[in-house]
Symmetry: C2
Subunit: 201 residues, 2 copies
DNA sequence: CCTGCACGATACCGATCGGTATCGTGCAGG
DNA sequence: CCTGCACGATACCGATCGGTATCGTGCAGG
């Protein structure tokens, strides 16, 4: 499994499974799930449909695995932000917002893969849909915890505000209705975290 | 109601074009664009594919027309909210938020049709995509105007905040990560509109 | 050295896609 | 009354979809 480059040809190619997942990532993100055929993924991965079906039972299973990896990547990035500011929830939250804001130009007019994929998966029992919903639920729980640690009066409401802002920023980037989205997003989240309280300690 | 048409001529049927658009509306909203075939639309509209192609050049043209009508419906609803509170921009903005909040339970786990459709239309030159982008741009312009009328210090930033909140609320309703979304949305928008200013008149 | 198996290549399957051609008929507008 | 045309029905088109079967080969692990 661990490859060890061997020495097949000049360029060291990744093993087929990785190439397939990379190809799926690029095509699903740029064109959506339904528009991308298994054959197209095979071609971009420089392999064949048969190889794909050797690693994944169905196209849906490949979609689910792609989203699983993507969710894990996001979780890892959030973990990194959190450990960068130990015991400082305010900075953790702002770091998270900065991470999203910095990713916006990359998403450009294609938006967030989770939001987009959900649109193509109306069936609530679809495995990929469950991956997304669990990821979003985890992310919300984490944010509520941070808001509580930061001493915000109503952590659940604050987490909802921040979540709406993050999701809305991605949607607005996609449809191009608002300029300087990243900048505005950071100001909004800072406003929530630094909101003046009614009572003082 | 659809099911079997036992009562033929008793019930006044809408003309085919309206039935097609109604059927498309229901199927696109509940299943997405790509998953719905022209044949399925014809069946639900109790007509044939030929009739659809008599009224619309392509499936894409039908999609664009559906979104055009939907955008017009939203515009009309916003107009109604605006004229309900003449000269009172604060109430207009809150009315707009209430309109969206009340619609959330209906959207349920399927979310906003504009957001969902954008996910399925990666091609920026697609006519339907342009319909959506123009609609969102108009909506933002209207909101900026209301915020300016309400005397908010930075109308563009306030409009962005409100837009993010509205879009984010719809996304979070779809993925189920947050409870009592409508209630939270109203509190957020009220907070923006009633935010204490640095200077007073 | 030997061998099993992942791999790539190729050919195929039924189903469904968007879109077209053709024709008979009922009804609305002149 | 007459007629044109929207309509419904039916049959068809090539392309593509997800998924499968089969086979030869090169290389890694024993």
């Amino acid at each position: 499994m661990t490859s060890t480059a061997s020495r097949p040809s000049r360029v060291a190619k990744l093993p087929p499974r990785e190439r397939i997942l990379d190809a799926a990532e690029e095509l699903f993100q740029s064109q959506g799930i339904a528009r991308v055929g298994v054959q197209a993924i095979a071609e971009r991965a420089e392999t064949t449909k048969m190889a794909i079906y050797r690693h994944f039972d169905t196209k849906d299973a490949l979609v689910a695995e792609w989203l699983r990896i993507l969710a894990a990547d996001y979780q890892a990035a959030f973990d990194r932000v959190e450990t960068e500011h130990p015991g400082r929830p305010r900075e953790q939250i702002l770091g998270l917002a900065r991470f999203i804001a910095e990713g916006l130009p990359t998403l450009s007019h294609r938006g967030c893969p989770f939001i987009n994929s959900l649109a193509e998966l109306p069936d609530r029992s679809h495995p990929a849909r469950q991956v997304i919903e669990e990821h979003k639920a985890r992310q919300t729980r984490r944010l509520v915890g941070m808001c509580a640690d930061a001493g915000l009066p109503d952590p659940e409401q604050a987490a909802a505000e921040i979540t709406f802002a993050l999701e809305g920023a991605q949607v607005s980037t996609q449809n191009g209705s608002i300029d300087r989205v990243g900048e505005r997003l950071l100001r909004i989240v800072a406003g929530i975290v630094d909101r003046p309280r009614a009572s003082a300690p």
